[in-house]
Symmetry: C2
Subunit: 319 residues, 2 copies
């Protein structure tokens, strides 16, 4: 409280409250004269924070939207809410911002007080994983540890469950996290195997940043996404799904995630969807049923079988 910088930070946090503060109240609250408050406001404006003032009787200051993000001052509950929200969305985030979302979560969790961390964990446990599917859900904690290690250029140690169920210990230099559809991959240089590898994040457990720094190697590809798609080509079983809907293409498109592709209109009130890269039939079945209109699945047989079972189960539930 003796410092000018501390006061400015306090001021910034007060101004982020969605209300107006008269200068006199700010002065008494921060323990300085109103004149100094006016100067502090000026300082904040010089720093680029657009402090808005309303003139006249019962005027006051508030922080408006500007050119750059000001440092967000959150109270405990807000921080927990953001952390829980981001973790809930970590598995199936909106496409295009998955990486940024994980980065933000890592940044927040790095400085999250431990008592709040417990609350986040408890609430996270209470949350319902929306996709039952094949159970390949990612642990937000794993994601954030990996993201931190990648940007911090620290070596990473973890246990990896291979496709055949065997557990192996890995020591890698993490390069980047890549999200495809709803699955996460880590592109990293495997120290022991002395080569680049990709790891499915849902098969990783007990990730641990060793603290040892490394200098980034050059990836043998234009970027991590390209390397991933090259290394996955022909490797994992993917399905091609073809379905027809009895509803306008816009109606269906609005109810499907983008990465499933866009439906093509086959008439005024019908359209067709062709998904080439589906990797979980349960998930696709679930999304199709959610569209809330008549539809028919033409391919693959496994999906048709799964839908038959689901429909039968629901019918049985109805007595």
């Amino acid at each position: 409280m003796t410092d000018t910088p501390a006061r400015l930070l306090n001021l910034l946090s007060l101004l982020q409250t969605p209300r107006e503060w008269p200068g006199s109240e700010l002065a008494t609250r921060l323990g300085v004269s109103p004149r100094t408050i006016r100067r502090d406001i000026e300082r904040l404006r010089d720093l680029g924070y657009p402090v808005q003032a309303t003139m006249g009787a019962d005027g006051g200051y508030r922080l408006a939207a500007g050119a750059a993000m000001p440092p967000l001052v959150l109270d405990d509950e807000e921080a927990v809410a953001i952390a829980v929200g981001l973790r809930a969305g970590a598995g199936h985030a909106v496409e295009g911002i998955e990486e940024a979302s994980v980065r933000a979560l890592a940044k927040l969790e790095q400085v999250l007080p431990s008592r709040l961390r417990h609350r986040v964990g408890a609430l996270q446990a209470a949350t319902v994983p929306l996709v039952g599917g094949d159970g390949a859900s990612v642990d937000p904690h794993t994601l954030t540890v990996m993201a931190s290690a990648a940007t911090g250029q620290e070596r990473l140690r973890f246990a990896y469950r291979k496709g055949d169920g065997e557990e192996t210990k890995r020591l890698v230099e993490p390069h980047r996290l890549v999200s495809t559809g709803r699955r996460w991959y880590l592109v990293a240089y495997d120290i022991d195997r002395d080569d680049w590898r990709t790891f499915r994040v849902d098969r990783v457990s007990e990730p641990f940043a060793t603290g040892a720094r490394f200098t980034p190697r050059e990836l043998p590809a234009a970027d991590a996404a390209e390397y991933l798609s090259r290394s996955m080509a022909g490797l994992q079983p993917t399905y091609r799904v073809v379905a027809a809907f009895e509803a306008p293409a816009e109606f269906v498109a609005a109810r499907l995630p983008r990465w499933l592709g866009m439906p093509v209109a086959t008439g005024d009130t019908s359209c067709r969807l062709d998904v080439t890269t589906a990797d979980s039939l349960e998930w696709v079945a679930f999304r199709l049923a959610l569209v809330d209109c008549e539809f028919a699945v033409h391919e693959p047989p496994a999906l048709i079988e799964h839908l038959r079972e689901l429909g039968a189960r629901i019918s049985r539930a109805a007595g």
Copy 2:
């Protein structure tokens, strides 16, 4: 950039990066001597931010978790990611932190630069509303405007669609937002009608804070939640849902949201769920089907009918 406070904020933002910074690099980057950096670190520590230092060769500083949240310095993408994540979760947030979640969103959107606001809007449009249900989804923008007006004690103007479909104009003094299950309500004092009212947020459109301040009146109840439940008693149609599952109670509980209540075990591999306050049958049907085990619905008839249709539709889709 000439100021000490500005440098401290910059330093704080650098230290939030998940990596270690040697003092010398911080010095050159911020354009001051290493000694000043050491003093700045000390200042931050005095302010309560736990700057962790590792000694020895290639040591450095980083920001650790402490007692209080430091101001979060986000880049553009991270801010957008948080905003989108919170908006996506605004409708059906994790129980217990809905209000905090909306507060955080309001705080963020208040200072979000407009160019980022456009990106948030675009991504938000691309997001899929998870619950089709009765279409009573809330607009995150409406929520944040209302939350800001309530905590900022500003009068609020909006259009309200009553139960019979009629549009009315309202001018209110917002008191609090309350979330029950997946629905949002505003408890406010209606100026024109000169009495307290509750409004369903999903029926509100074009909310607008007038800027006129008011002094809070005393609510004729212990708190907003109590007032809401009193004013809703016997008013809105709620259903009682009874369902039986052929799976252990823990299995079912883990796949149901808390506000639906807890299933009661009726055997080792069976349990029973009794929901007294369901307000949307589509939503309940959807959640029950998601549990992924055999189940049967005993009540109400409307839900059974809905399930019958859903099951038939899925079966038809399977050809």
